[in-house]
Amino acid sequence: MFSVLATAPAVYTTSDLLTNLLVFIMATFLGVELIRHVTRLLHTPLMALTNAISSVSMIAALIVMSETTSTAILILATVGVALASTNIISGFILVERIVRLFKSKPKTAGKPAK
């Protein structure tokens, strides 16, 4: 049942490849449009966010862990999981921390509280 998900390269068909290319192209264009509209004010938290999102590669490490029987490969994959999870955890905490720094003007008129 998991033969397609749990890949061996052999079961990867041309139709899979074309679908994946389509997904890649659409996601890239969508990404460009989404990021172009991010205010410059938030470019730093945006980078923290996309850094964390790119550590979705942890999933690839997990899949390798599930497939392999070799200790060496298992170690490589586990190191991959540790590195990616460091990024995920620190990335999302950091996004929360930075975004909270941005405050609007105090609504009660002119002088800022001091």
Binding site: M1, F2, L5, T7, P9, L17, T28, F29, L30, G31, V32, L34, R36, H37, V38, T39, R40, L42, T44, P45, L46, M47, A48, L49, T50, A52, I53, S54, S55, V56, S57, M58, I59, A60, L62, I63, V64, S66, I73, L74, L76, V79, V81, A82, L83, A84, S85, T86, I89, G91, F92, I93, V95, I98, V99, F102, K103, S104, K111, P112
Partner: protein, 465 residues
Amino acid sequence: MTLNLDDALALYVAAIVFFILSLRWMSDVKTAKWAGRSAALGMAIGIGATLVAYQIQQIDLLLGALLVGFVVGTPIALRVPTTALPQRTAVSQAFGSLAVALVGAAEYYDYAPNVNRFTMTVLSAEMILGFLTFAGSCIAFAKLQELIPGRPFVYPGKNFVSMVFLGAAGVAGAILVAEPSYGWALPVMAALSLVFGFLLVMGIGGADMPTVIAILNSYTGMSAAALGFVLNNKLLIVAGSLDGSSGFVLAVIMSQAMNRSFTNVLFGGVGQKVAKSAPGEKAQVEQRPVQSFSVADVATTLLNASSVVIVPGYGMAVAQAQHTVKEVTDILQEHGIDVKYGIHPVAGRMPGHMNVLLAEANVPYEQLWEMEKINPEFPQTDVVIVVGANDVTNPAARTKPDSPLYGMPIMNVDKAKTVIFIKRSMSPGFSGADNELFYLPNTWMVFGDAKKVLSDLTAALKEQG
């Protein structure tokens, strides 16, 4: 609980939706707080679905790895000062790219020697990108942390040598594609890619780091997407390409803000000019007269102004002067003076860096103005205070076609009635170009450390006000 293929795919779709919403919510400061949470939820769903669908057996290893991630990641995220965010971003990119590179290698060893050409091509490209980004991010970190000099490391034939290493890495990758059983080619390819990444970023100067960081960010995303192609995993493809395009767009914005192309940033136009022109010319240009003023003069002028714009640069971060800047702002606002901040897109060492520093000092975000919006305001501005910025205020970018800065969009601070330029010395900015602004009749130079000058200014303002 067991999940079949369709369940896992459905959960992946949900994770993708949360990632997309997350980027959408990051577009506005009012919704930004949901951005991180949404992406975190998407990530949890994606990882959870993978754990169950692929029936991961090595729970002990997994928990150990996650524990390491938690123990290392949490203090980094909670403790890093906002001035050091560029360094933290470089570290995080180093981690992310090393992870993808190692997983790529693990994939290869897992399949070898039965790797078809398509898979091996993607894997080779992915590992080259991963390893070069890892080395590049490490060097970017070292430069940002000032462990090594920030100036570009330039020598004759630099780009040729770098390209030879990249080409050789490509050849090693091609050998693996042609004959996947030649396992020796993998460490060779990895080493060559590492050397290329090292040389590439060594050749780029500190002030170009916003672009470099964005490009490396893009590479990490693209390698993750490549892993998705290898594993036929659409979540990896989507998340990787979102990150890839994000880094790309940011890099484009950064290089446009410097009026330079990608290639020019990566293969060094500005840095080389500095190296060539530095020794002889410096002494003579510094002879021109400038007007130096005391803090008391500045305080008087500020108190008589009705509008003030503050233009911060990386020097403000170095001097940790953002809180002192805010104190000056508060006093001026108490006197009914309108204060805005003008932020150049490449001010600082990473995209958006100045905004975060000022937000941390409790400057409301409505006061932070982008370059295009603040530039028309300068002719009506009484006083501009430049704190730790240099090249981005140089009018030579508009007027002198032979300047290395010519054509770069700048903050038109010279159009204001008075410009107060706080600076340590007369040394030129990163571009090596002498700042024409210093010699204009409406420019007042105040020499000294930004934080020291500004706290003296605070005292003088209190005294006179």
